[in-house]
Amino acid sequence: MSLDRSQVETVAKLARLKVEDQELDNYVNSLNSILDLADQLQAVDTEGVEPLANPLDATARLRPDTVTETNQREKLQKNAPQAEAGLFLVPKVID
């Protein structure tokens, strides 16, 4: 499998990454070399092997359903470029 320029452009757009035109070939090559490695792995016979969701040999620890957090709005909103009436403000969302 390999990617062409337009696919890389699409992926960049979906990830909201700005990629300059002259950089694009570079990304196409780099990404394709990663995909080459993936192709190499694909060649391994995985018949009967369960797909791996996580490489750690461990399972989820669960948290009891008890409230542990307090209101930190004031502190958290200091990180925001803009806040008003308790709300984070963002560029207008149009559906």
């Binding site: 699409t10 757009k13 979906l14 990830a15 909201r16 797909p51 969701a53 996580n54 750690l56 461990a58 399972t59 989820a60 620890r61 669960l62 948290r63 009891p64 359903d65 008890t66 409230v67 542990t68 957090e69 209101n71 930190q72 709005r73 958290l76 909103q77 990180n79 803009q82 008003e84 009436a85 308790g86 709300l87 984070f88 403000l89 963002v90 560029p91 207008k92 969302v93 149009i94 559906d95």
Partner: protein, 477 residues
């Protein structure tokens, strides 16, 4: 051409946990904006999610209630898209290995038939925050209190064939999730939201047409309206020789119109991958059985029991068991008055009418099952007629006292003294000699007139059965 409608639903059910799915923030509704959104909910760098066992238990309970396979090894994935109310830039959800596998829900149709709707799967995921589009100097406001609230998304097979079937399914699902206590069922607060997938095909065809998805319907009524509107639209398009485009649509319940959501043209490329921050969730049979043992009586079992032990019709049993609160109310009332059919009629009639008029929940009803049971017991023992009972009920809702107190205070006790009733019958006959002669000569219909007159003279307190009997005797004389 005859068209057949094909409907599948995706239902988002908010789980009634105390805390969020991956953080210890409260999920209580109605808090000041962003006061229940911590660093994890905001997706700040360096934070790690920890899965809430309360959400796991509730999801498993749902799976057991719909007779589904439970995923003993499930895991979370990231669904990637950008939207301001999704702070991490991805929604943590499940795709490959959901917690609840295939199951089914049986619904009762209008014609009395039972239909099975297959559930494809149900998965756990987090809710997003809320965007407020009121004008903040040309900007949008974001409240992240809801971000991270645990949801299960229930996905059906395309098994429903009309808006009525879809609504019957949605209501049944509401009954199930509230009965097992995994969701508060409050639609006005968004506790259940529906996405409807609708397509049509020529009747008799077994291939599916192109479907559209109408998103985020938050009431049964809107769901029904949106489906009807979309079916009409698709028929118009196809009959005009057009083609249905697969798209997401939005329904506006105020204007009763829908439109295409074209802005999300690339939205379907979500690039799912397993969430590296969360380990697989592994549970065993013992764990599942321990949850099974906490389940209350399920709605279908309750309906069966109401039919078997109270002799109710399937319809009455279904209506009364639609909410656990109503079912309990009915059973307690029956216990007091000793007549299930009478209790059923009153719970579905006067009581429901009163609750609807006052717009109050049965939990807040000022009249207890004990109060109502005592009132109905007075109908049973002929102290009052059903009609007078409605007057007493009215007075009870006004807080005028218990049924017996009101009957005494207002002198509503049914007259069963034969002598007194006979005197009233004689009076009425004397005042209507002409009609009485006609009645005697065979104009049977007039009996109703005479009974009515006597009941009126007694202010409704005469026992109608006795009035009838005495009148018939007088006709023989």
């Amino acid at each position: 051409m005859q068209w057949e409608t094909v409907i599948g639903l995706e239902v988002h059910v908010q789980l009634s946990t105390n805390t969020k799915i991956f953080s210890g923030s409260s999920t209580a509704f109605g808090a000041e904006p962003n006061t229940q959104a911590n660093a994890v909910d905001l997706g700040l760098p360096g934070v790690l999610p920890v899965f809430n066992e309360g959400a796991l238990k509730k999801a498993v309970a749902f799976g057991l209630a719909i007779d589904a396979d439970i995923g003993k090894r499930s895991f979370f994935e990231r669904k990637n898209y950008f939207y301001p109310d999704l702070p991490k830039g991805y929604q943590t959800t499940q795709l490959e290995a959901p917690i609840v596998g295939p199951g089914h829900v049986d619904i009762l149709l209008d014609d009395g038939e039972t239909k099975r709707v297959r559930i494809h799967h149900a998965h756990l995921e987090e809710d997003a925050g809320k965007s407020l589009h009121e004008d903040f100097h040309g900007m949008s406001g974001i409240d992240l209190n809801r971000a991270g609230t645990p949801l299960i998304e229930i996905v059906t097979e395309p098994d429903m064939r009309s808006s009525a079937e879809a609504v019957a399914f949605a209501k049944k699902l509401h009954t199930i999730v509230t009965a097992i206590g995994i969701c508060d069922g409050d639609m006005s607060q968004g506790s259940m939201r529906f996405d409807v997938n609708v397509s049509i095909r020529p009747k008799g065809s077994d291939t599916l047409g192109t479907r559209t998805e109408t998103k985020n319907l938050n009431s049964f009524r809107f769901m029904e309206e949106a489906i009807k509107l979309e079916v009409e639209r698709q028929i118009d398009v196809l009959e005009d020789g057009g083609e249905i485009i697969q798209e997401t649509r939005l329904y506006n319940g105020d204007t009763k119109t829908a439109r295409s959501m074209r802005s999300k043209e690339e939205a379907n490329d979500y690039r799912y991958f397993p969430c590296p921050d969360l380990l697989p969730v592994v549970i065993d049979d013992d764990y599942i059985n321990s949850i099974r043992s906490t389940l209350p009586e399920l709605p279908d079992a309750k309906i069966e029991r109401f039919i078997d032990s109270y002799g109710l019709t399937q319809y009455d049993a279904s209506v009364l068991s639609a909410t656990a609160a109503m079912a309990d109310y009915f059973e307690q009332t029956t216990k007091i008055c000793g007549d299930a059919k009478l209790a059923a009629n009153w719970c579905m009639g006067e009581l429901s009418k009163f609750l609807n008029q006052q717009e109050i929940d049965i939990a807040d009803c000022p009249i207890s099952p004990n109060d109502l049971g005592q009132l109905l017991a007075r109908i049973k023992d002929d102290t009052i007629s059903g009609k007078i009972a409605k007057t007493v009920f009215q007075a009870m809702t006004n807080g005028e006292g218990s049924a017996d107190e009101i009957i005494d205070a207002k002198g509503l006790k049914q007259v069963t003294d034969t002598g007194a009733i006979e005197a009233m019958v004689d009076e009425v006959i004397a005042a209507n000699q002409g009609q009485f002669e006609e009645l005697k000569s065979g104009k049977d219909k007039l009996i109703g007139f005479f009974v009515g007159q006597v009941m009126k003279a007694s202010k409704g307190q005469a026992n109608p059965g006795q009035v009838n009997k005495i009148l018939k005797q007088k006709m023989q004389d």
